[in-house]
Symmetry: D3
Subunit: 242 residues, 6 copies
Amino acid sequence: MKILLINPNTTASMTQAIAQAARAVAAPGTEIVAAQPSFGPASIECHYDEAIAAAGVAEQVRLGAAAADAVVISCFGDPGLDAAREATAAPVLGIAEAAFHAASFLATRFSVVTTLTRTCVIAERLVQRYGFEAQCAGVHGTDIPVLDLEGAGEALVGQIEEAARAAIARDRSGAIVLGCAGMAPLCAELSGRLGVPVIDGVAAAVKFAEALAALGLRTSRRGDYASPPPKPYAGCVSHLGW
Amino acid sequence: MKILLINPNTTASMTQAIAQAARAVAAPGTEIVAAQPSFGPASIECHYDEAIAAAGVAEQVRLGAAAADAVVISCFGDPGLDAAREATAAPVLGIAEAAFHAASFLATRFSVVTTLTRTCVIAERLVQRYGFEAQCAGVHGTDIPVLDLEGAGEALVGQIEEAARAAIARDRSGAIVLGCAGMAPLCAELSGRLGVPVIDGVAAAVKFAEALAALGLRTSRRGDYASPPPKPYAGCVSHLGW
Amino acid sequence: MKILLINPNTTASMTQAIAQAARAVAAPGTEIVAAQPSFGPASIECHYDEAIAAAGVAEQVRLGAAAADAVVISCFGDPGLDAAREATAAPVLGIAEAAFHAASFLATRFSVVTTLTRTCVIAERLVQRYGFEAQCAGVHGTDIPVLDLEGAGEALVGQIEEAARAAIARDRSGAIVLGCAGMAPLCAELSGRLGVPVIDGVAAAVKFAEALAALGLRTSRRGDYASPPPKPYAGCVSHLGW
Amino acid sequence: MKILLINPNTTASMTQAIAQAARAVAAPGTEIVAAQPSFGPASIECHYDEAIAAAGVAEQVRLGAAAADAVVISCFGDPGLDAAREATAAPVLGIAEAAFHAASFLATRFSVVTTLTRTCVIAERLVQRYGFEAQCAGVHGTDIPVLDLEGAGEALVGQIEEAARAAIARDRSGAIVLGCAGMAPLCAELSGRLGVPVIDGVAAAVKFAEALAALGLRTSRRGDYASPPPKPYAGCVSHLGW
Amino acid sequence: MKILLINPNTTASMTQAIAQAARAVAAPGTEIVAAQPSFGPASIECHYDEAIAAAGVAEQVRLGAAAADAVVISCFGDPGLDAAREATAAPVLGIAEAAFHAASFLATRFSVVTTLTRTCVIAERLVQRYGFEAQCAGVHGTDIPVLDLEGAGEALVGQIEEAARAAIARDRSGAIVLGCAGMAPLCAELSGRLGVPVIDGVAAAVKFAEALAALGLRTSRRGDYASPPPKPYAGCVSHLGW
Amino acid sequence: MKILLINPNTTASMTQAIAQAARAVAAPGTEIVAAQPSFGPASIECHYDEAIAAAGVAEQVRLGAAAADAVVISCFGDPGLDAAREATAAPVLGIAEAAFHAASFLATRFSVVTTLTRTCVIAERLVQRYGFEAQCAGVHGTDIPVLDLEGAGEALVGQIEEAARAAIARDRSGAIVLGCAGMAPLCAELSGRLGVPVIDGVAAAVKFAEALAALGLRTSRRGDYASPPPKPYAGCVSHLGW
């Protein structure tokens, strides 16, 4: 089975770190093909970054999904998720969505710990759209820049741990969702420290993608996830039209 | 990996049919251990049946979950789900919940086709509790008794197909969720006929259970899913206390 | 008029205490018939206890409701409420539901003070199911074990009073709902101390049951509250089938 | 016990008819004191009528509630309900609210049959405010003018019956709420014809008011239902200030 | 263009102050015609005041709207808004509604700072009715009486500023809505101090009213905003019937 | 005052048609500067088109908003709205949002008539995000391709009229929202035919933008609408970074 793992930002080292986290949990026989857009922001820390990055995700699905059995979008805002589901019949999972679903199987209430406080609203709107308002008890920013997570040392891990402990107490939560793909490498360490389930969306999305693909389930071609209607695309994305 | 697959009713032939459906999708290395309560209704077709069956699920988790890596509850009302999550740290999945989650990955709107119309409210309340109100576009009864599904012939399959087609059109849906564990053996046939994803909760729950267990994720022991507080149990369930 | 008052746990002294609270508010001419299941937990302090207790409620309604004009279920999780409504056409009231309804007549916002914090989620889900999300401003645990409420002295009363005062201030509430049948005997004392309406669900349920029965209103036999479909019941509950 | 029963419109014959319906269900020892505003519309069939009528309800509570143990507002829009709860500590019930609560005790879904279609939105907003969105499956107009209900003959009763039957089928409902105080005299007849619980809000409000008063429960004086702050009132309502 | 600006209370100095605030933002060519009811409370600080004031708004629209191109209701509870929309086809705006809409264009989350804490529930219900629950992050009382706002000095302005700062921090808000027409004259000063958008509903309503009127948009005459059905009105409002 | 009017697709004739509709309603002194992205789809008819177009909107705001007093995004999916609000402090309005707000001022319920049925879900999600679920009674597709609206003749106008009439009846609506910028030129004709308010989002957004700008209100710079954090952008959008 081949999973196309898209890092929506354009930082190659982060793409590799996410791919490594994905490979660590993939089943034998699952190949992780990592990709990043040819254009866009070095990290995604606001709506503006995200709008450009979503187009980058659309590009990568358009160009690369034909050979994939499933697709995972590895940014906690799930940028371009609906576009990707139109652009391929392979099942597509966002890591925020996968993490929320996994957490809801393990605790009646969970909290999200993420990077910049200004991006909390992005996660909160996904919580609303996906319907986890009763289960998600809080979204908490740490104001750690995304790229600082690469090679994070004890100081950053401790900061995330502290935010998670505060969230568990304040939100009466039973589980923690890590609100950034860049936190994937820290999941095991934080699980050990916190004593509650800690969910990394990259890992969850890879396993759920394997599950759906194994069942032969594919994205519905009926309704709004049908293939895009053919039309010309102008300018630097002219090769992305249908 | 060992999955305890609980059929909440007491009809042994149905337990075996569900187990067979589960084994058909289980990964190599996954053992399906099927069980049913020592007491309770032959099928679950109303709140009253369900209340007794939920106690039966609690019994089976209490007695059998110690040796399991994950638990699946195979009735579309997810009876005893919260009780089971307290009674074991192994991840526990209900088939309604698993099916809703799977469907939400594949279509923006899905419809449920179930057995007795009087049980629609049970599924509708799960939709509300789990937060799928924006995605679940309708729950539709066929008034087929649960046990009639065993060895269902063309007449019954055609009846379900017709109900599904009507639901897709009326609800503007892109996927169908089968609203009864007894429909599991019909999933492949109906998928072929309908041309949209058809989700059987038994299969979905087994694969999601494998996914969670593979990630080492277990039910939170913090908060309301902590182990039950010890106390005496009276009467015919005296062996079930903690 | 005869009201069947079911204590869902199996502690006889608590059954008697609840019956006494009910008789204290019953109208002249109302007979309170107290009952408890033949099996189940000594108290209900988690989902697991509740799942077994709900079956016990179903048993008592099955065996005893024929002679009753109304039924009251006296545990704040309203276990077995839907099952009971199928098993008899007499009106059935849960004490959580009755208390929420009464509180909403008296204040725009109310707070619940209950026993174990781990059970808050049970009340919160009832709030969601019944539709009191805009009126219920908070559910607060005191971590007092249920059976400690029997013969509660000043220390416990003071602890509940303090929790109620904190809830009123924090939640901007105008009324307090007592979140356990075992608190019924404390209602008058707490009302006097707090200076806001304090609602005991046992009393509220008894009076609303009298009201419905006096109007000749009975549980609908149409739809999902119709009598259970006949079928065999296995094992220790074989006498409970329809 | 004395219940102040306010008909918010100014049609004396309707006030008497409602009073008669209330007396028919009142307990021995309950005195029904009927009143209507000194000003306002002959019937309430739109927002404009209702805005004036709500002031009329405030007048009657201001002038008459001191001697009452409970107050009932007998128009299905519950006009002036919050104002009345500030103006007296006696419990106050609206007939829409009482009917919704009663119906939710008897069926998982109910439908409302009311007078003018243009007033459906008034009931729908009460459903939203009170939190009955999951239980109220539909509000249906018959376009019968309110005052035509006085001395309604077979034609009108048949029209309401037909609308109720259609609602039950379309909404999958188990009970009918009558959406106008003027329908109170038809409740018994319609119950007999329809075979499901039919709830008249006047009757329900009277019994719930008796229940609350018997328990000694009064409107909270803390928060937004505290007595109005003293201030001058100008013009034709100068005697209504605090 | 002529805008009828109704102050729902009967304090003439406040009517003039609101008119002045409206004229300060009105376009050249817009005439502001200020009015207040002939009866009712000197200020609106509770549900009771509001119920009477809503009738006063209905009076002023009935008597004065014929010559107006748009109507603005200048009290933060939007009293009589629906009645006014029936009583004239000119577009009608409430200041709470206008302020909420404006704020939602400028920030993902906003907070309301109002007068008496007891009136917070009025604003909260408008938030619910209008659908701003995800955007309005909090409603905060200052317990400043409405009429104290006239000629407010530094002490009061400082108190409102402090409440606004606390709200911004606690609610994670990006904008402040002033929750009383009497605060209109303070808007510019508070904007300067707070460094976030501060929205005065009077100004917002005037500009939105101009916008709608310029587009030729008028209140729908179809459905529940159709003109009131003709009928007699009794007593001191007999001239207000249709 | 200068309004930057962005057509998110790349069809120049449609940009001109929208600009013409905007200029027809703009106040004297308002200059409409029309723009379209340098890249992207010829029309927006699915999530995939929209994801690319949102990046195009971000481009145009990044390059052109410095000189604008307000920005209007002229596609009914409001693509790139949040990104645009970060990229400029000038107020930004989407046409779907503006139309919903305008409609809610004029009728208690409105219906949307749009182009392809597959895009209904896009409007429905905006309805959910913006909070118009109680007011928007239905979103209806006509399956008219967006670019067919250019120079629409009687056949297309009649088709839209018919869909609107059906929506009004089925949804019990009092107003119609046109669900595509391409329908702007048809608004007056349809208003005349339908007899209810017909709202074109382009016109509504222009007037609301004028209103906000006239009040000196600007997008909050506090919280998640703060300017994007500076960082490198790669590839064909490298000039769009901050």
